[in-house]
Each structure stands twice: as structure tokens, then as C-alpha cells.
Symmetry: C2
Subunit: 155 residues, 2 copies
């Protein structure tokens, strides 16, 4: 993709999937994320780095949030949109809310550990003080396939 | 306290309260945390540093978890206990579970934003794969007083 091309939702999720794939090759759970501005500029991209950084909080979502907040010297990012290949867990849903993101696009659903459409359903809790718009199921099959392959190989 | 003194739950919470107070003086929400080993060695202590680090995830709990994981080069800390002055939010409850902490002691309850005894009640969700032992209400009044003062002064 050249710099002048206009990127859409599927292009951003494609980049997140590339990050997921690269994470899997590093021995991480293959999840990737991209953070964009409201006008579609890519601000950060990363895969999971829990093992690499020896950091239990180093999920892809957390890493892109933290990177952009640091770049801007501003912990609140209300103009930003997150693209992530798996439904966020409770930690990441909490961080997304604290960072006041505008929108979250995610690919695969995570009935076992997700906290958006499953489990805690955090954005629907009265204790959640900022609820982003959520768009789910984009490139769901590809993201799920990556994860399934990873866990099958681990067994 | 000298190094040879045997510290108990209230001593650790006292240190967490000192961190909370110091955080308040830096303009952060006054919450503090201490992480100890199972034999009561203090491994890390911190207050909130969201504004200082421009990091929406820099809650006291997250900072001590991340510090000890980095020290040990190991993202899982199953022998560790957390002392924190306020009921953890969804993000921190998620991180506590991912880090597989043994125990969480917290002081004040947080009906507005807590995710342990309120809201998501994350550790009770079937999507939570590690549930620490939780001991709550230790030094509750002092921790609550610090927070109340802080928010009253902001108004």
C-alpha cells in the first residue's frame, strides 16, 4: 500500500492481522492491533509482546494505546480508533475506556476470555464511564484461523 | 520501620497509603500499591502515574506488576500479593488475573469504578481464568478519606 492510498476498515484490519501473524512467529499469542486517528492516519501498530517484554500487560491493544499516549504526551485519546484481531479482554477493555477511544473494531469473538460481547461485557456496565463505539466481526475467520493454528501447534 | 521488623498486612497497606498520598501531591488520583512476595518481601511500590507518564494504563497496580515482572524477566507472578488502596478497576483486575497473583488486599471500596466487588465483578466471571484470593476493607476509611479530599479540592 502506498502512502497516498486511502485506507479503509479492512486495510487497517489487514495490518492488524499482519501484526498478529508476526507475533505468532515470535512465540506470542497471535493478536495484533493498529491505532489510527479519526482521519485514518496510522499512529501505532503492534502484536502481543507478553513474553518478549516479560510484561503480563503487554497485549497488542495496550502497546498501541501506550505508544500513542506517550508520543502525544497525553493519556486521553478521544479521536483515536483501535483495530484489533481478537475481542479485547477485561484488562484491554478497561484501558480502552480509560483512554477514551472513539471506536473499537475487532475481528474474532472470544467467548472464553472476551469482555466486550462476553463475560464482563464491560462497556455495558454502569461502572464503565466511557463506552467506545464497537464494530465487531471484521475479518473474523482469518483472525480466528491464526489463533486456532497457534494453539493446535502448541498441543 | 527497620529491615528486621516483621511486616504485616497493615504495614504493607500503610506503605501503599504513603504511595497514594505522594501520588496525590503530584496531581495524580491518590491511589498507591505495594507488591510483595509470599514471604512478605517488598518487591515494588508505586502510586498512580497516569499524568506523569502520559499513560492511561499507569495505575499503581499496573506499575508494580510490570516492575516486578521485568525484574524477574517473567510475566507470571503466582507467588506475589498485591496491596492497593482502592478496589481495582476492570483494567487492573484483568492484569492481576493475567499475572496470576496469589492475593489482592484492597482498602476502600469503589462502587463507581471498581470491578472486584462492583460492576463487572471480574474475578467471578467464567471468562476469568485465574482468580486471586481477595481481602478487602483494610484501612478502608483512611484510603477513602485521601480520595474524598483529593476530589473535593479539585472542585
Amino acid at each position: 500500500m502506498s502512502m497516498v492510498e486511502i485506507l479503509n476498515t479492512h486495510d487497517f484490519m489487514e495490518l492488524a492481522l499482519q501484526e498478529a501473524e508476526a507475533a505468532g512467529k515470535r512465540g506470542e499469542v497471535p493478536i495484533g492491533a493498529v491505532l489510527t486517528s479519526s482521519v485514518g492516519k496510522i499512529l501505532a501498530r503492534s502484536g502481543n509482546r507478553v513474553e518478549e517484554y516479560a510484561d503480563p500487560t503487554a497485549h497488542a491493544e495496550m502497546l498501541v494505546l501506550r505508544e500513542v499516549a506517550r508520543q502525544r504526551n497525553e493519556p486521553r485519546l478521544p479521536d483515536c480508533d483501535l483495530y484489533v484481531t481478537l475481542e479485547p479482554c477485561a484488562m484491554c477493555a478497561g484501558a480502552i475506556s480509560l483512554a477514551r477511544l472513539r471506536r473499537v473494531y475487532f475481528a474474532a469473538y472470544d467467548p472464553k476470555g472476551g469482555a466486550v460481547e462476553h463475560g464482563a461485557r464491560y462497556f455495558g456496565q454502569p461502572t464503565c464511564h466511557h463506552k467506545p463505539e464497537v464494530i465487531s466481526g471484521i475479518e473474523e475467520q482469518r483472525a480466528g484461523y491464526l489463533l486456532k493454528n497457534f494453539f493446535n501447534e502448541k498441543r
